[in-house]
Symmetry: C3
Subunit: 153 residues, 3 copies
């Protein structure tokens, strides 16, 4: 239980894996790959950061939103694996930032997810990333984040 011990050491309680907002699944496993659905920064059933970066929200808000969405993704990956030690590689983080005209700091915002992944998974958390700006987001959420993960057999 290496990763669980790490979570305890970091003082991180994984949230309840949030339910999808429509007719789809939070994760699917195909072979050794797990795909999560796009995660919003839900916390206790509510969007914790609503609005646009470069308008109502600060970069620090965005960073925390990305961290929250990543926590939700990790909660789903725990559901999918039963044991986070089975995670071999975080292959890919797809990060979409809800932003206003002229916003450029997508990388800093998405580091909220990347830093969390590095803290929890260490070498197994090295990942590729997409960082994109989105004009309008479901539920007015600050970010949306999806992960593709490789698990051991």
């Amino acid at each position: 239980m290496i990763i669980e011990a790490k979570l305890a050491e970091l003082g991180i309680d994984l949230p309840e894996a949030p339910a999808p907002v429509a007719a789809y699944q939070p994760w699917i496993r195909a072979g050794n790959l797990i795909f999560t659905s796009g995660q919003l920064p839900f916390r206790n059933g509510e969007i914790s950061y609503a609005g646009k970066l470069g308008a109502e929200l600060s970069n620090e808000d965005g960073y925390q939103a990305a961290r929250q969405a990543a926590l939700n993704a990790i909660a789903h990956i725990k559901s999918a694996t039963g044991d986070l030690d089975k995670v071999k590689t975080i292959i890919r983080i797809e990060g979409y930032v809800h932003c206003a005209e002229g916003f450029r700091d997508h990388p800093q915002v998405l580091n909220g997810a990347s830093d969390l992944i590095a803290e929890i998974f260490g070498d197994r958390g090295i990942h590729t990333r997409l960082a994109l700006g989105i004009n309008e987001m479901p539920l007015n959420a600050a970010v949306q984040l999806a992960m593709i993960v490789e698990v051991a057999d």
Copy 2:
């Protein structure tokens, strides 16, 4: 021919798989995964729903556009497999909604694809989903939709 029988029962005629709009392929198989290109709501060679959600188009228009794009994706998956019964899992639907300022109903629009997949594929149609707003879309299409599918050996 379970899925073909289901299509007949639902009264669904799969369209001719539409040609790409530039220099790329409609689908690629790699191992047990099939990736489709981004599908637009083509019907009989024309974009059936053009414009933006939250502006010229209603949510019902968007729902129908997502359904049409999903039909086109399924037509390509039939080309790729020869037989839709070989589909093991619809892993992922990536849904991009062409939308105006303030639009929030991406999930309802993309249910046009998710509901169709559920009707046709039943348990094998459970999927993960991304739902994103896009400021400008090729050919002014209402939606773009890509699928990743797992097939049996």
Copy 3:
């Protein structure tokens, strides 16, 4: 060294693989798949085409930006494989075009990547594609491009 010979014949020098702009990796291999991070049109450490299509930038600028981003992706795939002849299939190109209101020519812009891939990889370069408009892009880059590639064992 078929692909290296092809690069020489085409007069293409692959660039130094550019470093990521934040805390993530340029590529990850999982099984026979290689995923690249989103590539920007970096050239000699600078964004070669900054701004929006349909505003400051012409379609030809966008075409060249997509070509440059694709070159950077191929440089990373060379790092990942050691030898580009190990590339079996370019499975997918995800193309995001930084664009202004009313822009419609995403396919023409992304042909800058697709044409390059076809020149270099021939039959192995046939790929699926997503073509999406993005309101705001990291570093004001004209395009962002990610690839998923299948390699031989």
